[in-house]
């Protein structure tokens, strides 16, 4: 491979490849080919660019190039009061906005030492699990398109619409709802919402059964997914991979069970695990998680406590609308919160939660002012993306597409 003169060091590094094996075939002319996949490629699930080194149809090396949707959200959050940073933080991983808000709000609550009321914790759990189902539905639908099955996509997006309708009913928005606030949630659920969620979880289980009937023993799915993209547990742990990918390899690590937050310890649910960590296990683990999320939602609706839906600490949460007309103090609190925001005691905390893709941790540093000095998200997609190369090396390029789909990176979260 000749290198053109004047090429930058960066490009040289991109071209450098680590060969995982010597070229096969004795006496046959072998040539490695470097091709570019993405950033605008339908099966990269966003603007992910891969530089592939191919030997025939076999992938010898993969270099992911990211940053195409980097929008400086962490920098933007530094310039906003704590509660006004929630909407920008929500937009990081655009498929799990409730989780982004939860990680961030939880970190700020930790700094403030604010107690979240029980009803708010339950409402959060219900919305988080609805969001998890929604995220897995998008993953399943788009992954099946990559495998050549478009019908599953239509079914998944039909159910996803039902979840988005529920979000719209409870918060007024279908995506990026800004429903979670520091200290609780923005408002109580509307009348009739509980019944609709119950109807949804009942229907969702049937729908998930139907997906299973379509896919579980489907010959094409089995051929594409079984024994492809295998990574063992030790490699995954070394790479920092968490979530369904780790659970597919047999490690039952789930922060909802291991370190329960937001009263997850009140609910009875199972953690699906796989056996060998191939793509089929990843599919089965996520599919089984849909049922468990339905179970959690049902239990949370059954046990939904009465009481306030946001903390009564007026220094943190906005006063109710009706108080503004009668109480001078409420008006002052409202004015202070809306103009300056609340001040947070100095310190730094890390708040990890279990997102649909793994450990989503939010690091917040406060310098005592009303704006965060640093917000940093440990996004699971960003870390899990490192598993692309070990999962696809020495496999066919068609398996690369299947593996990438099953790794489920969301580029909004990767690039932030």
């Amino acid at each position: 491979m000749s290198t053109p003169a004047g090429i930058s060091d960066y490009r040289k590094q991109e071209e450098s490849v680590t060969l995982s094996s010597a070229p096969a075939g004795d006496g046959i002319e072998q040539e490695l080919m470097t091709i570019n996949m993405g950033p605008h490629h339908p099966s990269t699930h966003g603007v992910l660019r891969l530089i592939l080194t191919l030997e025939g149809e076999t992938v010898r090396d993969v270099k992911p190039i990211i940053g195409y949707v980097h929008t400086g959200i962490e920098k933007t959050a530094e310039d906003k009061p704590y509660w006004k940073a929630i909407p920008v933080v929500e937009r990081m991983d655009y498929l799990s906005y409730y989780f982004n808000a939860m990680a961030y709000c939880g970190a700020v609550e930790k700094l403030l030492e604010v107690e979240v009321p029980a009803r708010a914790q339950y409402l959060r759990v219900i919305h988080l699990e609805l969001n998890r189902i929604m995220s897995h539905l998008v993953w399943l639908g788009t992954s099946c398109i990559d495998l050549g099955a478009i019908s599953v996509w239509w079914y998944c997006f039909r159910e996803r619409e039902a979840v988005l309708d529920l979000f719209e009913m409870s918060s007024g928005q279908r995506m990026h709802t800004r429903y979670f606030q520091v200290g609780g949630v923005i408002e109580d659920i509307p009348r009739g919402w509980v019944e609709r969620v119950r109807r949804f979880t009942k229907e969702m289980r049937t729908r998930a059964d139907q997906y299973a009937a379509l896919l579980d023993r489907n010959e094409i799915v089995l051929q594409r997914l079984r024994h492809t993209g295998v990574i063992d547990e030790a490699t995954l742990l070394g790479l920092g991979v968490t979530g369904p990918l780790l659970r597919a390899a047999g490690n039952p690590w789930d922060l909802r069970k291991a370190a329960p937050y937001s009263s997850y310890d009140h609910f009875d649910f199972k953690i699906p695990v796989g056996t060998i960590g191939d793509n089929y296990d990843r599919y089965r683990v996520r599919h089984a998680e849909i049922y468990e999320s339905c179970a959690i939602i049902d239990q949370a609706l059954d046990g939904l406590p009465e009481g306030p839906f946001i903390t009564t600490d007026r220094k943190v949460a906005l006063p109710p609308r009706h108080e503004l007309a009668t109480s001078m103090e409420a008006l002052i609190h409202h004015f202070k919160l809306v103009t300056e925001g609340f001040r947070v005691p100095p310190g730094e905390v890390y708040n990890p939660i279990e997102s649909p893709r793994g450990e989503l941790g939010c690091y917040v540093r406060s310098d005592g002012s009303s704006k965060p000095a640093r917000v940093h998200m440990r996004d699971p997609s960003f870390v899990n993306l490192q598993a692309t190369a070990p999962a696809t090396r020495n496999s066919y390029i068609a398996d690369l597409v299947a593996t990438l789909a099953m790794l489920d990176p969301v580029l909004g979260g990767v690039d932030r």
């Binding site: 930058s8 400086g72 742990l237 790479l239 920092g240 730094e348 890390y350 640093r374 940093h376 870390v383």
Partner: protein, 169 residues
Amino acid sequence: MPDATGLELIAQDLRAADADAVLGTSFFREEATIEVAPAFLRTAAQALHAKGYTFMASCHGVDYYPEEPRLGVHYQLLDMPNVDRVCLKTRVPIEAPNVPSLCGIWPGANHPEREVFDMLGVVFDEHPDLRRILMPEDYEGHPQRRDFPIGGEPVLFTYNEDKVPGWTR
């Protein structure tokens, strides 16, 4: 999380290996943090790894401006069987932002350390592939530093390509 006593015991073990290694400990909001000198970061990480903190959950970069030393790197380490977290922290001045890379212990530190380098300009020594990850390769400066100017950047169109400084380089 180790409790405050457990944290001091860990710090004591690190001090026993090298007296100057630990600069301080803090137990804040139930979170244990050990601050070490950059030169001892790798040995401290290895010692914690041997203690069972075998999973690197995340790596964060911080700019402590206007405090000195300005740049901070945090490694959140996790002991999965005991569900125990400890934060390993080190701080370096902006003039000599060199920190030993922990990629040798945790291969998963690769992308996060590249991000810290990209955003804050911390140089990780012996990192296998230290280059920008989120910003374009020809970008100047490190945007997450607190004194990085916020504001407009010239938007490129065909008519002003030659007028935007740094574009043709």
